[in-house]
């Protein structure tokens, strides 16, 4: 608890304030504000349709908000386009896996490094000097730091379409790691996984935070995992932040329990929250 407090006191790497996003008449986000402290795990939770993915998409630069600001590492991201945001260290995974099916696992991971490479068309056509050097260095780094770390040596040459759902999620994480993240945004990293895969993923996320010193912002419905590994929780409902704080603080919050119950999202989750609290 004291540790979490200390983390929150640290300078935030990401500050979202007053963010509003509407699709026609539908207000996906209204006046959303929160901060993400550096080198900690922040979870965004909320019932289905609460606007979590929309929030991620807005931070990534895929949607343009109608109002509000996003400050990343001291820089206002307004007017910075999605690819440049990625280059600045905003890496992410997707709720509906977005791997490139025409590429092997290895190439998918390599793609993550795109924004940090320099190879131009001429270098590439000749595959001489810079292009070759860059490719070989990238290969070595991915093999030694990412593939070994995530234990996916055996599938590196596989076509992504042939992999199980859990492995695909892991490859997505690998690709995000190849992006040289300063903040890693994970959209439901363990959705659809079995117990064992979930535990593996939780371990990887913790290791990334601790060994790589990367800040983590994740959306997750698995309350057990959220309560276990996150330092800070933000709760969204109908596009609004209804609570935020440490996992313990959020668990007891009446509004949060009501939101989950009221959403018809089954009492299951509320029960889980209570069970974890006990």
């Amino acid at each position: 608890m004291s540790l979490a407090r200390a983390d929150m006191a640290a300078r935030p790497i990401l500050e979202v304030s007053g963010l509003s996003l509407a699709f026609g008449g539908l207000r996906a986000l209204s006046d959303v504000s929160f901060t993400v402290p550096e080198e900690a795990i922040t979870a965004v939770i909320g019932p289905n349709g609460a606007g979590k993915t929309s929030l991620f998409n807005t931070i990534s630069g895929f949607y343009r908000p109608q109002a509000g600001s996003i400050i990343f590492a001291g820089e206002n991201l307004q007017g910075v386009r999605a690819p440049q945001r990625a280059a600045r260290g905003l890496a992410r995974t997707f709720q509906n896996i977005a791997l490139f099916r025409g590429m092997t696992v290895l190439d998918n991971i390599k793609l993550g490094r795109h924004a940090h490479m320099r190879t131009g068309v001429l270098d590439a056509l000749l595959y001489w000097g810079r292009a070759q050097k860059e490719e070989l260095e990238l290969r070595a780094e991915i093999e030694e730091r990412i593939i070994d770390f995530l234990e996916i040596q055996h599938i590196r040459d596989a076509a992504v379409g042939t992999l199980s759902y859990g492995l695909q999620k892991r490859v997505e994480l690998a690709r995000a790691l190849a992006m040289r993240p300063r903040i890693l945004m994970l959209d439901e990293p363990v959705a659809g996984m079995n117990r064992e895969e979930t535990e593996d993923m939780a371990r990887f996320i913790l290791d990334v935070k601790e060994e790589w010193g990367v800040t983590i912002l994740m959306v997750e419905h698995d309350m057990g995992m959220v309560m276990d590994i996150s330092d800070h929780v933000v709760v969204l409902n109908f596009g609004q932040v209804i609570a935020s704080g440490t996992p313990r603080e959020v668990q007891g919050n009446e509004a949060v329990i009501a939101a989950y119950l009221g959403s018809g999202d089954v009492g299951e989750i509320a029960r889980r929250i209570k069970a974890e609290a006990a």
């Binding site: 998409n57 990534s60 630069g61 895929f62 386009r81 999605a82 690819p83 990625a86 280059a87 992410r92 997707f94 977005a98 490139f100 099916r101 025409g102 590429m103 190439d107 390599k110 793609l111 993550g112 490094r113 795109h114 924004a115 490479m117 190879t119 068309v121 270098d123 590439a124 056509l125 000749l126 595959y127 292009a131 050097k133 860059e134 490719e135 070989l136 260095e137 290969r139 070595a140 093999e143 690709r175 992006m179």
Partner: protein, 346 residues
């Protein structure tokens, strides 16, 4: 030192041809290509040159359509830009032919970029139609501009190197074949780098590619530029090969031909572009043989040749798409696997 170890550990893995069998085959092929002009008749040399030109253009289109997923029905029009540029330069300025080829290709690339600009906003058929529109406009321009000889087109002198004239199939072969090989090699190289990965990412899921750090417009335009550079270069070679360039030299159906070639060969594989272009170039010749052979039995065979070619052309597109959508490259892969496993088949 570190680079040295890198090479030994992953360099072999990252090589273009990873097995010794493949490399052996390649050497054989290269030897064959060098020996070919000394044994082949001018007719076969002529066909070889035509195949090579089509391979060059199809490979370019493959980068754009097969790898980046942007459909273009303008490849022939981009070739015409290269061909006209070469012809005009050769006639008006008499500059060295390699320079002419490069200028023609660069000009085609610039036009390609212009045509590609709508690609950020429009996709699929809308884009394909935009490329047709560009072809129509280019055709109109070439058939009305005095510089390009209006409807009559241009006849041009042959290429020459230090006073040595390149105008026979034998000598043209030594110009066209090496250029095509370099182009194919360049395309294969490109695909091993971040640029090739960006292309494939755009093809597979362009919106997520953008969030992963790939500026869409830049890479779509890069793809258009490279593809039309290839077309322009192929068109330039074509001009030196036939030495007459008219507005009807590069009709819309030729653009369809290149699209058909990469479909029949196998979209999104370098080998597919090569196999498809060669195959589609040779099929009409094959039909001509058949017609000649049939004439004694069926006197109208030669008259039926043109429509039969059209039918076969369409039939190949339809047949491959339905029965072997991954094209000749896939068939070749299966054959190879068969021989790999041959003694141990179960």
């Amino acid at each position: 030192m570190r680079i040295g170890t890198l090479k030994t550990s992953y360099g072999a893995d990252e090589a273009l041809f990873d097995s010794s069998v493949q490399r052996g085959l390649l050497v054989l092929l290269a030897l064959g290509a060098v020996a070919f002009p000394f044994v082949a008749s001018p007719y076969w040399l002529f066909l070889a040159c035509l195949c090579a030109i089509n391979v060059a253009s199809a490979t370019g289109l493959n980068l754009l359509t097969g790898y980046t997923g942007l459909v273009s029905l303008g490849q022939a029009a981009f070739m015409s830009v290269g061909a006209y540029a070469v012809a005009v330069l050769e006639i008006r300025l008499g500059t060295p032919f390699l320079l002419n080829l490069l200028i023609g290709a660069a000009l085609a690339a610039v036009i390609g970029i212009l045509v590609g600009i709508p690609s950020l906003r429009v996709k699929g058929l809308y884009l394909a139609i935009a490329t047709i529109a560009a072809s129509v406009i280019l055709h109109f321009l070439f058939s009305h501009w005095s510089l390009t000889g209006e409807a009559r087109g241009l006849s041009m002198p042959p290429a020459s190197l230090f006073g040595y004239v390149i105008d026979q199939p034998f000598t043209l072969y030594w110009l066209i074949m090496p250029v095509t090989c370099l182009m194919v090699l360049g395309a294969a190289n490109l695909l091993r780098t971040r640029i090739g990965r960006a292309f494939i990412a755009i093809r597979d899921r362009d919106i997520s590619a953008e969030v992963l750090g790939i500026p869409l417009l830049r890479y779509k335009l890069t793809s258009f530029a490279i593809s039309s550079f290839y077309a322009g270069l192929a068109g330039g070679l074509w001009a030196y090969f036939f030495r007459v360039v008219t507005p009807e030299s590069f009709p819309l159906v030729n653009s369809i031909f290149y699209l058909a070639a990469i479909i029949v060969g196998g979209m999104g594989t370098i080998l597919g572009g090569i196999l498809g272009a060669v195959f589609m170039t040779l099929v009409p010749e094959l039909l001509k043989f058949a017609a000649n052979w049939l004439t004694p039995i069926y006197p109208d065979a030669l008259a039926a040749l043109a429509p039969v070619r059209t039918i076969v052309f369409g039939g190949l597109i339809v047949g491959f798409l339905i029965f072997e959508p991954r094209g000749l490259a896939e068939i070749w892969r299966r054959v190879r696997r068969f021989f790999h496993l041959w003694p141990f088949r179960t």
